[in-house]
């Protein structure tokens, strides 16, 4: 069973949050909770052990049973330390923020994960490793609502937190979350490929979740294809175009053969989101025109990193009420007022019941479900009400930024007002940068 099946698995709807019950039990046990925090302090006092991409690849290359067990125990002991750090961070937030909808739920989820990890026995053989992998996947599934819940909760709590601390808190949470998912998924993938020589495969050589010969052009083409297949009203806002055109073309130039080793899922998410934004902006800016100007993607292989520049003619960034491009990465409504838009918040609420993993497959899966359901059922009242999977929740740019900076890359946006936007994505290619988490 390849790790990709995991994502279709994740489409299962979660039961709604039983916040009443939790709130009730919490009011009885807050005192207990306070004194039991000592357990957490023990773990929080340890330092997280940061890795580089190269280490992840190197370790995974010569896989055998012993090394796999080692990996399992490494993940088993490292993850609770990272979770403990995040819980301490949550505990440091203002009281009124953590008791808020969304944040409270995340807090409970983190505690439960921490307890489960703490109690998981040591892994000593392959069958125990199987159980561990299942356990990991369950936790990942359970935590799918974290991103939208946190985003929702913090946007609502935005009046209580200055923008800087809100953004840096959110950043630490999201980066840590990515790091835990990377470790967990990498281990699960290594387990699955034990015995197969996927590192030397000609098609798609990979070690765990790291694809060692990622061709940027191929990734861009894949994202473009997926995006252009979307129905024309996927933009889902007020107007439709007078002309029956599709989505804009994407012209790719630069170093078309550039290849590097990276986590494919991260790269494709970033490219997908950026191209999605570019297409949407171009579509809107030229909704009365017969043809759409193309988007230009330039691939560059530098000494230490690879870069992709995406240039569109979508009118620039400043139609939104923001001061500078980096405000688009902010979760604070002070920096980016759209965070408090009703439909944005509503969309986040829906997303948090479903869960968001920040992957391309999740978004494409939703679209494909759209198509088939539409064919089978005809009109779907939920879709009609606008609560469709591709509703805009405003996480694409902040998540892309976090993915990009995770191993020391960067994401920059420059706007040419009323003309278009240029996005510069840089990802390190040597694999020698440490994970960008806080220790």
């Amino acid at each position: 069973m390849s790790w990709q099946c995991y994502y279709f698995h994740a489409g299962v709807r979660r039961p709604p949050c039983r916040s009443n019950k939790l709130g009730h039990s919490r009011s009885l046990s807050t005192a207990l909770h306070f004194y039991q925090n000592r357990q957490l302090d023990l773990y929080a006092a340890k330092e997280a052990h940061r890795l580089t991409l190269r280490q992840l690849v190197f370790f995974g290359r010569q896989m055998d049973e012993d090394r796999l067990i080692k990996s399992a125990n490494y993940v088993r002991t490292e993850l609770p330390v990272r979770i403990a750090h995040r819980i301490r961070d949550l505990q440091a937030l203002p009281y009124v923020v953590v008791t808020q909808e969304g944040v409270a739920r995340v807090y409970e989820l983190y505690w439960s994960a921490f307890e489960k990890f703490r109690r998981f026995p040591q892994v000593t053989n392959l069958s125990e490793n199987e159980i561990f992998c299942e356990f990991l996947q369950n936790i990942l599934d359970e935590h799918a609502p974290v991103i939208p819940s946190l985003s929702l909760g913090l946007s609502l709590a935005s009046p209580h937190l200055p923008p800087d601390s809100l953004d840096s808190f959110m950043r630490r949470m999201l980066v840590s979350r990515i790091s835990r998912r990377v470790l967990a998924e990498h281990h699960v993938a290594l387990t699955k490929s034990l015995g197969k020589n996927s590192f030397n495969s000609h098609e798609d050589p990979h070690v765990g979740i790291i694809y060692t010969a990622l061709n940027l052009k191929a990734s861009i083409d894949k994202c473009v294809k997926l995006l252009r297949k979307r129905p024309r009203n996927a933009v889902n806002d007020k107007e439709e175009s007078l002309f029956n055109r599709g989505w804009p073309e994407v012209i790719v130039d630069g170093h078309l053969d550039a290849k590097f080793a990276y986590i494919r899922e991260h790269l494709e998410y970033i490219l997908f989101e950026l191209l999605k934004n570019a297409m949407r902006a171009t579509w809107f800016k030229h909704r009365d025109a017969a043809t759409l100007p193309p988007i230009c993607a330039t691939i560059v292989a530098g000494e230490n990193d690879v870069g992709v520049r995406i240039s569109d003619q979508g009118g620039g960034l400043f139609s939104a009420p923001i001061q500078s491009a980096s405000d688009l990465f902010s979760f604070s409504h002070i920096r980016n007022a759209t965070r408090m838009d009703d439909n944005r918040l509503g969309a986040l609420r829906t997303a948090s019941s479903r869960g968001v993993k920040a992957t391309v497959a999740e978004q494409v899966g939703g679209l494909q479900a759209n198509e088939t359901e539409r064919v089978q059922v005809g009109k779907d009242p939920e879709r009609e009400a606008g609560i469709a999977p591709h509703q805009r929740i405003g996480l694409g740019l902040p998540m892309s930024n976090i993915f990009a900076t995770y191993f020391g890359g960067s994401l920059e946006l420059v706007s040419l007002d009323e003309w278009g936007t240029d996005v510069f994505l840089r990802l390190p290619k040597l694999g020698t940068n440490l994970e960008g988490i806080e220790v």
């Binding site: 330039t298 400043f318 040419l416 007002d417 009323e418």
Partner: protein, 435 residues
């Protein structure tokens, strides 16, 4: 008495036994320079004590509306009070530098130049007629000319003082000096332009120019003009040149000071052209028939109240800027041209001027007077100008861009090319910008 004095005396006395005679002549080297005359010190102090009148662009432009003798004469009295104030502040700034820096010949030369110009203007009799104004503007022109080499002179001096001043101090000082120089020239040239416009307006008729401000400045036209100039320079120096593609909103116009825009664009195009050609040769050799990749310039739509900036993007395929150099490209006298670092420092720019080989102004006219040539006519051994090696292009362009509230940013795709984004505020929107 020193040993050398002894030797001299013994030689004088015909090589006989050393005779100790108290020497009247003093060989003591005076370590501290002479203080300035009391008159000029007092004058400087009185001017420097009052900060320059906060001048806005609106008020400067207002002198030209309407263009009648009275407004030109009030412009004169404005010039005679504001420029000396600004010169006094520059002189004061130099005087407050560390003493050891002040003894550097280049620095002291600049200080003296400021003091002299200041004195000249502070003591100038008031101008009440147009004839007097005519001779005044001639003198003013000459004065501005004489300060042309200030920045490279100071920079050369600071290079020599690297031990005594940190790079940040130097850079802050030069930033202040350049900004000050831009103000002084703006005020001076506006007055000169207005005076000349008054004379000639009977012949020309209404234009969109208010002195040195052009209310309908066309970026596309400026790009084409600078492009031609830089192309020739590039062809002459390197043997090849990229073409220019202008896209975006070709017809955009906005209110700006054309010489500033010309300076900025020329410097950026020089960088882009040089990088493109050098990279092309590196990849394909000098004899290749492949076309040199073009430099693409995109112009945004005209500024409006909701979007007050005019943006210009200059995109090249010149290989980009390496990550190590990115931190340094906006610092003064950093250049990748002519990698041999000569000890005298200051870069070839400074050396050419200090040596006295006066730059022959390039014959581009951008309106009244050879203002354009004055800015860009640098060490011209080829008779055309240098395309690179100056190390000032980017930091000065950025200062010019920021002067009315704009910005200049460079994004590099290391291994492919660079994008430079120039955002300029239309001066009718920036009317309240202080200068």
């Amino acid at each position: 008495m020193s040993a050398s004095t002894n030797r001299l005396i013994s030689r004088m006395s015909g090589g006989a036994a050393t005779v100790r005679v108290p020497c009247r002549r003093s060989y003591h080297v005076r370590r501290a320079p002479e203080p300035p005359s009391a008159e000029i010190s007092q004058l400087l102090a009185s001017y420097a004590v009052h900060p320059p009148h906060p001048l806005t662009l609106n008020s400067l432009v207002a002198f030209g509306q309407p263009l009648i003798p009275e407004s030109v004469l009030s412009s004169v009295s404005f010039v005679l009070s504001e420029i000396p104030r600004r010169l006094a502040r520059r002189a004061r700034a130099l005087e407050t530098l560390p003493f050891i820096v002040g003894t550097n010949p280049y620095v002291s030369r600049t200080l003296n130049a400021y003091r002299e110009s200041f004195q000249f203007l502070a003591n100038y009799p008031s101008v009440t007629t147009l004839e007097e104004n005519a001779s005044f503007t001639a003198e003013l022109s000459h004065l501005v000319e004489s300060h042309r080499n200030d920045i490279p002179t100071m920079a050369k001096g600071f290079q020599e003082c690297a031990k005594y001043m940190s790079p940040t101090q130097i850079s802050n000082f030069l930033d202040g000096a350049i900004r000050n120089r831009i103000s002084v020239r703006l005020i001076a040239e506006q007055h000169i332009a207005l005076s000349q416009a008054l004379e000639t307006q009977k012949h020309i008729g209404a234009t969109s120019h208010y002195g040195i401000v052009d209310m309908a400045c066309s970026p596309a036209a400026v790009v084409k003009m600078c492009g031609v100039f830089v192309s020739e320079l590039c062809e002459a120096t390197l043997g090849g040149t990229p073409s220019i593609i202008i896209d975006g909103h070709y017809d955009t116009t906005f209110a700006y000071v054309p010489v500033h825009l010309e300076y900025i664009l020329t410097e950026i195009l020089k960088n882009a052209f040089r990088a493109t050609v050098e990279r092309h040769y590196k990849l394909h050799g000098t004899a290749s028939t492949r076309p040199v990749p073009p430099v693409t310039i995109t112009i945004s739509p005209p500024p409006s109240p909701s979007s007050p900036f005019l943006s210009i993007r200059i995109r090249d395929q010149g290989g980009g800027v390496s990550p190590t150099n990115m931190a340094r490209i906006f610092s003064y006298a950093f250049t990748t041209a002519g990698q041999d670092n000569d000890d005298s420092g200051g870069g070839p720019y400074a050396a050419q001027h200090i040596g006295g080989s006066a730059a022959v102004g390039v014959g581009m006219s951008a309106g009244e007077g050879n203002l354009f040539g004055e800015i860009t006519g640098k060490g011209v051994q080829a008779g055309l100008g240098t395309i690179a090696g100056l190390g000032y292009g980017l930091p000065m362009s950025r200062l010019y861009a920021k002067y009315f509230g704009g910005s200049l940013d460079l994004f590099s795709l290391d291994g492919w090319g660079s994008d430079v984004y120039v955002k300029l505020r239309s001066v009718d929107q920036a009317g309240n910008a202080q200068i």
